[in-house]
Symmetry: C2
Subunit: 300 residues, 2 copies
């Protein structure tokens, strides 16, 4: 039987084909995220991208925003404690035109202490935490996730709008307006100073902290060339403070998982703060998919 | 002698003419903010808007973003403690083509505990606080200011990016994307719930709090029609918490000053939190300009 997993997000389409021993025999990536698909023609895109892999016996697992309201088949959210086995058991099954079985995986939600949701990141978490392990997995990004794992199950998590907030403030706000055109992102001291400031907090909370980045440049506390990196540092420092203080982070040592440049940036922030952190495996999503592909379950 | 004051901001041009007793004899407003002025033709705009008031003996005080780097004449910032008298003494004098004296007022800055700046709002503060009074003046807005006044002088202040942050998140972020088209802003319960949540904090800081507004709607904790007002409440609740905790706000009773609808919104927030606040005078800017116009000083 051919096993295929598809990580289909808003911007990207990533697919992996497994051999009979659970090794990855083929992989394919395209900028064919769900936002690029018109009139709900998801199956056409699937066939265009990986049609050559698909036979009537194939089982295709789909994860990510493809399972959201704006995707192909909307799946519910799995409540914590959420396991890889649970993800597969709660998958919604459809039949492809080719006869292949399509399994749309659920997302994971969290209602306590605050409502939160993820779709797709859970695969990275299951790839980064060992089965039955206790861990705190931190996935930096547009919407950073701090995910508490107990005995291999996701028990709670918090999302931080860090990356999106940085982009908003840089591109659209009065803080970003002072950034000189072509300012380099190689300002490590500015980043580190921002991290410390954001972590400690200036006493007026984040709405004030970000304004002080503008005011500090206007008053000559640092050059305008520092604004972008300082702002990035302030937001990441604030995320680390709040993440460690949150229920998801309490008392655990963060394990950073994700794209190398971003992980490196967060690692620098933890170092600057004198706080411990570990680096998770590269390609955590692939590891998670491999574990998922190897699983049995009601559809297995 | 004709005395004129001009409050010339990014978006608006507001001018007042005083009679010999210090009463306002004429006023004029236009959407002729500095962002609308091309090629630095500020004097042309001044003559177009209030040329009929100006004679060679006139004294024209200018305040607001017209005194910034992107304005007509850049003035320095006055350091605290900043008084109305100090503003006038530090004004930069130029001669208009008509022969009238132009006095460009400084802004006010603050370096402790965090760098902060204002240009124009100080006039409202001096209109809202009595001479020699101790007060905490709160000016809600795009960039809310919490201003501590001692014996009539501005001693320190903090700016919160509240209004701009709301606009950014509503228009450009993933949180705003769920807001139904045409959703009403008449959702007082959603606003009040947001204020309480933002004031108490969800345990994960503001970057998490704003994401929970999206997640709560996705999980059915409240309808999507509530998102905008809840988000507004979260940000204002956070501002009030941080403003009261800040050095500018410590131990004082806030006096709200500004545009009526916005003051009303903040008053509702204070009520919801069971916290005291006072309402400042309407037209605080006019009161401040009147006091300024009556002042003597080296140019008086």
């Amino acid at each position: 039987m051919t096993r295929i997993v598809v990580d289909w997000g808003s911007s990207n389409f990533r697919a992996y084909r497994f051999d009979s021993e659970g090794g990855i025999s083929d992989r394919h990536q395209a900028e064919a995220g769900i936002l690029t698909v018109r009139d709900g023609a998801f199956e056409d895109v699937l066939e265009r991208e990986i049609g050559g892999w698909i036979d009537p016996d194939a089982e295709i697992l789909l994860s990510g925003m493809i399972t959201s309201r704006n995707g192909w088949v909307e799946t519910p959210y799995l409540e914590p404690p959420a396991t890889l086995q649970g993800l597969k058991e709660k998958a919604l099954e459809r039949r492809a035109r080719s006869g292949a079985r399509l399994l749309f995986l659920p997302g994971v939600c969290n209602r306590i202490p605050q409502p939160d949701v993820m779709r797709g990141e859970e695969i990275q978490v299951f790839g980064a935490a060992l089965p039955d392990e206790d861990a705190l997995i931190v996935l930096p990004g547009t919407h950073s996730k701090w995910v508490s794992v107990k005995r291999g199950a996701i028990t709670r998590f918090s999302t931080f709008l860090t990356g999106e907030m940085f982009a908003l403030l840089r591109q659209h706000s009065i803080v970003g307006r002072l950034i000189p055109t072509g300012a380099s992102s190689e300002r490590p001291q500015a980043f580190r100073a921002g991290v410390t400031f954001g972590f400690q907090g200036g006493g007026g909370g984040l709405l004030n902290d970000v304004f002080t980045v503008r005011a500090g440049a206007l008053l000559g506390s640092f050059p305008p060339e520092d604004i972008a990196e300082r702002l990035s540092g302030v937001l990441i420092g604030e995320e680390i403070r709040a993440g460690l203080a949150s229920a998801a982070g309490a008392g655990r040592r963060p394990r950073l998982v994700g794209e190398a440049a971003l992980v490196s940036r967060y690692r620098t922030a933890f170092e600057e703060l004198g706080l411990p952190c570990d680096l998770g495996p590269d390609h955590a999503a692939v590891a998670g998919f491999r574990r998922l592909g190897l699983l049995g379950g009601k559809h297995g």
